[in-house]
Amino acid sequence: MTVCPELLARARGGEAAARQALYAQLAPATLNLIRRIVGQRALAEDLFQDTMMLFYERLAQYRSEAPLGAWLRQIAVSRCLMYLRSPWKRARLCLEPVDGGVAAEVAALVTPGYSGELIDLERGLASLAPTARAIVWMYEVEGYSHQEIATAFGRSVSFSKSQLARAHARLRLLLEPEVQRPSCLI
């Protein structure tokens, strides 16, 4: 995604219309990325708000070394990881509904653009643990390497690899068709 340099300069100068135009251009992809990493819509909006506020605060420091969209994505990923690593996340997780929450999140997401297999995949992603989901998304879609993920989480490379392998296995299990197996006596 490319941003017109003139628009960027005006936004840096604090012009409201330019900031609004930047928001319209960058916000959808940013919210989508955050929602994919943290799962819940309400929580994603909180982190999205943080991210965009930080983005405008730091806009003056942007040096055009990377595309503006990529720079914003870095801020978003960093905010998400800060949240996932915080002890409050664990406490909040205990208060979440167990199955109804996943079903409700998936139901809220499904739009006419969804095919059957994408609904299954969406359900599978929603049922992953937050850390595993973040690693899947960062590795498979955002293109982070295991080394970069390990650095971001402050863990080792094998942590990233094992989390990804477990997430793959769990997704595979969730996406397999249910087979009616005959019962047996042992």
Partner: protein, 180 residues
């Protein structure tokens, strides 16, 4: 049905194919409104923090003063000619330890019937699985770096303990499902 077995590339393609339009953000005006709201809240919190600090300091000072006052009263002998009045010890004073009253009140506050609270196991299971993955991670690192066999044994022991706990939680889930 997505086929994740064929190659990891497929999952990547499928994930990228997930529609993004379901996550349309709120507008810029709403963003500005929320930003201002957060600023106000942050300023309010800063004021609250100052007030809370002042309260803590005041309570601390009060506690020190009370303590000093109590200590000052201990060593003073009664003035000559002033009769020393001692209250007669009641029957409870001799039989009960000093904290008995507190314990009695605490016991009285407990409900008469025990309450059964159903708690979801998701957080416990996730925590255990994360911990097991972390131990696996440590084990791999320890094996790669040729750590002492004692350390490997400790890690294996810890892993076995965690897996045992996970099995117990899963078993409890099965029992709970069966009883519903």
């Amino acid at each position: 049905m997505p086929d994740l077995n064929s190659s990891p590339q497929d999952l990547s393609t499928l994930l990228r194919a997930l529609p993004a339009d379901a996550a349309a953000p709120y507008g810029y005006q709403e963003f500005e409104r929320r930003a201002q709201q957060r600023d106000r809240r942050a300023r309010g919190l800063a004021g609250g923090e100052r007030l809370a600090t002042a309260c803590v300091v005041a309570v601390g000072l009060l506690a020190v003063l009370v303590r000093l006052g109590a200590m000052g009263g201990v060593g003073h002998p009664p003035a000559p000619g002033v009769p020393v009045v001692r209250s007669a010890p009641g029957p409870e004073d001799e039989t009960l330890p000093p904290h008995a009253g507190v314990a009695e009140r605490w016991l009285a506050s407990l409900p008469e019937e025990p309450a059964i609270v159903h708690v979801g196991t998701r957080a416990a299971v996730l925590g255990l699985e994360d911990r097991i993955a972390q131990i696996d991670d440590l084990l791999s690192t320890a094996r790669d770096s040729g750590d002492a066999p004692a350390r490997l044994a400790t890690l294996r022991q810890e892993r076995a303990r965690l897996v045992g706990t996970l099995v117990q939680v899963r078993y409890a889930e099965v029992l709970a499902e069966g009883s519903l």
